[in-house]
């Protein structure tokens, strides 16, 4: 073990822009999100209600159209939670994702699938599986995924 070897490095920074086609159902979703409504898909055959909306029911392999979309309640039930407490680069922004943040899996009333999203609580002792949660909308919605920046835990006395 001699003196520490000097590391040879070549550095560069890359900017890689992408544009995604989001599909007709997502267009409808974001149009309605601007009106503070949450829309999902309903299978015309088996009646399964999907969040997020999508074009095909995996069980039936049948197409679900914009006409098959239905509105879900912004309220739901918490099934599991964590508080993310580690650093990483967010590929959607290119910068570090701010942490810690609350993160939950919940089922919206009326939906058959679950969703995961930010929760505005970073103390894990404040969460309780089975408690009610509610989507919080930005005051001025823009038809963007961040129109619901997070869900909030509903306190028992509010019920």
């Amino acid at each position: 073990m001699g003196k520490k070897e000097k590391e040879f490095q070549i550095k560069w920074k890359t900017d890689l822009p992408y544009r995604y086609s989001i599909g007709k159902l997502a267009v409808k979703y974001f149009e309605e999100l601007k009106n503070k409504k949450i829309m999902g898909s309903k299978c015309p055959k088996c009646d399964k209600r999907y969040m997020p909306p999508r074009a095909v029911c995996a069980n039936c392999f049948i197409e679900m159209t914009v006409e098959d979309m239905i509105e879900f309640s912004p309220k739901g039930t918490l099934v599991g939670f964590t508080v993310v407490n580690y650093p990483f680069i967010d590929p959607n922004t290119g910068g570090m994702r701010p942490f810690p943040y609350g993160y939950g899996i919940f089922k919206l009333d009326g939906a058959d699938t679950y969703m995961m999203h930010f929760v505005d609580e970073t103390d894990h002792t404040k969460f309780k599986i089975g408690q009610r949660v509610e989507a919080v909308f930005k005051e001025k919605t823009e038809g963007d995924i961040y129109d619901i920046p997070y869900f909030r835990l509903i306190k028992e006395e509010e019920e």
Binding site: T82, V83, G104
Partner: protein, 390 residues
């Protein structure tokens, strides 16, 4: 039914570490491939075809088989196919290699999985694997969802963080017997795990797998070729795959239902009635300590909610009835594109009796497991012969 029986006849793995700055990607792949060729006493010209796999977004590269699969893996003038299925990349490689030889397309094949996670970021790379509109904005790579799974599992069955910590102590103690394992913490205690930093409740630092760099190469051959190469092969008895819904939260998949589906399918095919009695060792893909407890249940090693009890009774320890992860498992080594292939390779090593200090005595039948994607499971069962158990 396969047209040909298929055996593992050569294995190479690099010593896994957090950083391999001394080599570039092809140089690292070459190390494992050369070891596998030497192990099977084969020349590059003897190999029929190459399957190579990793998750390119972890390194910020693309179509890397073009510049890694020709000289580093001996693909010159040969078919080279890339496979990338997230965490299951290694098991998809392992299973596709099996199909290619079992079907009679090739008489042998070399499969190689690799990753160099320190060159990018696994969490960032994993996020890019998911739907850019719906899933990326809040996804925290793998550990966030794995923490949710652990949280639901613990609440449902009353599993304690101490029981989870015991998995880490078991696997990292085992890793001390494995010269290829990345994390070497032979003296790790329950307190070390339970006092380590909270990464994502209930996961602490030592409840989580590391990010590793390294490669694993395995050579398969049909019966005729195998006879020429070795009198101590490990035979494939069967493979099984189960994929599930599109999005990770389309169903409540905290206990990995695909593991139950894939294992029931393969146990039935091979006449396995009680995996604890019928299997001699299992190398499972446990990204967290909690996952091992939960997935030993899903794989049918015990009943629902009994994963902690199974461990407490010592059944999954090195000296137990069904040792789980004598190599140290994923909690000790995680070069993602190689991780599940290492599970298959370690199962083969146990069948061949070449495990050195990590060898379980008298292994006849061994199972390897891959986990990844949208909570997918892939399994292979290897043995001293290619026949079903019953």
């Amino acid at each position: 039914m396969p047209k040909h029986n298929v055996a593992v006849v050569g294995i190479g793995q690099t010593k896994f570490r957090s950083k391999r700055r001394d080599v570039n990607i092809p140089e690292m792949i070459y190390e494992a491939v050369k070891m596998a060729l030497d192990d099977a006493q084969m020349e590059p010209k003897d190999v029929d075809a190459i399957l190579i796999g990793n998750m390119d977004h972890f390194e910020g590269i693309n179509f890397s088989e073009m510049w890694c699969g020709i000289d580093a893996a001996p693909g010159y003038l040969k078919p080279v196919v890339k496979i990338a299925t997230g965490g299951t990349t290694g098991s998809s490689l392992g299973i596709c290699g099996y199909y290619n030889v079992a079907s009679g397309i090739y008489k042998n094949i070399l499969v190689v999985g690799w990753e160099k996670l320190n060159e990018g970021g696994a969490t960032t790379g994993i996020i890019t694997a998911f739907d850019p509109v719906w899933e990326r904005p809040s996804l925290a790579g793998a550990l966030g969802p794995l923490a949710l799974m652990a949280n639901i599992y613990a609440a449902r069955y009353g599993i304690t963080s101490e029981q989870a910590a015991k998995v880490t102590v078991k696997n990292r103690s085992n890793a001390a017997n494995n010269p290829f394992a990345h994390i070497q913490m032979p003296d790790i205690t329950l307190e070390d795990v339970m006092n380590s930093q909270m990464i994502s409740y209930p996961l602490r630092l030592h409840d989580c797998c590391p990010q590793s760099e390294g490669a694993c190469a395995v050579i398969y051959a049909n019966e005729e070729e195998t006879k020429k190469i070795t009198d101590n092969p490990a035979w494939f008895k069967g493979v099984s795959t189960a994929h599930y819904y599109t999005f990770g939260c389309d169903d409540l998949m905290f206990d990995l239902p695909t593991a139950a589906i894939a294992s029931k399918k393969i146990y039935k095919k091979l006449g396995i009635k009680d995996p604890v009695k019928d299997l001699d060792v299992a190398e499972i893909y446990e990204p967290t300590s909690w996952s091992e407890l939960s997935w030993t249940e899903s794989l049918g090693f015990c009943g629902k909610g009994e994963g902690g009890k199974l461990l407490d009774e010592g059944i999954t320890q090195m000296t137990g009835e069904l040792p789980v992860n004598p190599s140290g498992g994923v909690l000790s080594t995680n070069p993602i594109g190689a991780t599940a292939l290492v599970r298959f390779a370690e199962a083969a090593i146990q069948v061949m009796g070449r495990g050195g200090k990590r060898q379980i005595p008298d292994v006849e039948t061994a199972m390897g497991m891959g986990f990844g994607g949208s909570l997918w499971t892939e399994l292979a069962i290897l043995g001293k012969d290619p026949k079903p158990l019953r």
